[in-house]
Point group: C2
Chain length 196, copies 2
DNA sequence: CCTACCGATCGGTAGG
DNA sequence: CCTACCGATCGGTAGG
């Protein structure tokens, strides 16, 4: 009888993707060898190559599964029946939560883009642009000045992502300020600047 | 006669440091080989090892020369006889200018910290902390709330650096918005939030 | 300041 | 004759 694809094919791919994320976050894409990755999920190196054609495809899968989650969350949050300000506040909270629930993946998304081949990089970049479009819509809705000067909008949008994405360099879940509080500081600063 | 150190020893070291910065920014620390670096400055690989004991020492020199420049600029700006707000506005402008005059070094400072051995990483981290202290002083001076709640200050300080440091992922000198304008958008958002 | 090398490890693939 | 998967090893290159 011809064998069909193993029933747990997708689960195995996910297992590899997860283990690879941890290792790549720690050592970098070039520093984490395929041998490291295979060892960390108790597989032979050859078996890794059964599930992924090349090392880069593992990197792509790590990034894609993460960024598509972020995009889905962003679209969900902004669809709800809330005021524009509340939508932004919730977006910041939801993103901070997603970043910290997947710190390895987030670090890789921000640091390892250069190690993707051009076509695959394009797919990730497009997803990130879609994510930015959510905030761009908010900015256009909220500010008369930025509605009439569309060229200024991208920098403002990037200030929002700058505040949030930079947290991966300093935020500590065990520290004195909660994830939600940090998200609220970011959205508050975006809307109102420094408090009195 | 015992040879003395070549008169151009320091210039050669700088030449290597500069060439290494360009290559490491492009390929990453692990992706840029010592052979790549030596070729790009028309030296033999062995000659590189005459000026630096190890590859990591080149990375450290790239980061240290850059971060110490940033720190010097920040201290200069905030000493001037200006209002607190003007000091922050100028700090943002001066940092944006320094980032863009040394894009390779800035990218490396932000991305390659993990590739430094612990002791050397500590030196760079301390310099970055000193830089943050400049903004922390400003925040404490400016906000009653943050003066009385010191635990909240680091997140606010990091929002400032998040906005500025994140620019390296998107800002284009040839684009429609100038470096100075982007710096002003960041300081304006920090002080006042989104414009009307 | 160079050529000639080293021990080790890289990403990827062979036969079965 | 297929797919799934193994132990072993390929040609090249890394930092030193």
């Amino acid at each position: 009888m011809a064998r069909t694809q193993a029933v747990d094919f997708d689960q195995r791919r996910e297992k590899i993707t997860e283990a690879a994320a941890v290792l790549i976050a720690k050592k970098g894409f070039l520093g984490a060898s395929v041998a490291d990755i295979s060892a960390s999920c108790n597989m032979s190196k050859s078996l890794i190559y059964h599930y992924f054609p090349a090392k880069e495809d593992i990197l792509f899968e790590v990034m894609w599964s993460h960024v598509s989650k972020l995009l889905h969350l962003a679209n969900t949050v902004t669809v709800y029946d809330r005021t524009p300000d509340d939508q932004l506040i919730w977006l910041a909270r939801v993103l901070m939560e997603a970043y910290n629930g997947a710190q390895a993946q987030q670090k890789i998304l921000l640091n390892e883009m250069d190690n993707l081949p051009a076509e695959k990089r394009g797919v990730i970049v497009q997803a990130q642009r879609d994510l930015m479009a959510v905030v761009d819509k908010f900015v256009a809705l909220k500010s008369y000045k930025l509605r009439s000067q569309p060229k200024l909008r991208p920098p403002y949008v990037m200030m929002f992502f700058g505040m949030l994405n930079w947290t991966h360099t300093w935020f500590d879940r065990a520290g004195p300020v909660s994830e939600t509080k940090v998200a609220d500081i970011a959205s508050d600063m975006f809307l109102k600047g420094l408090p009195f």
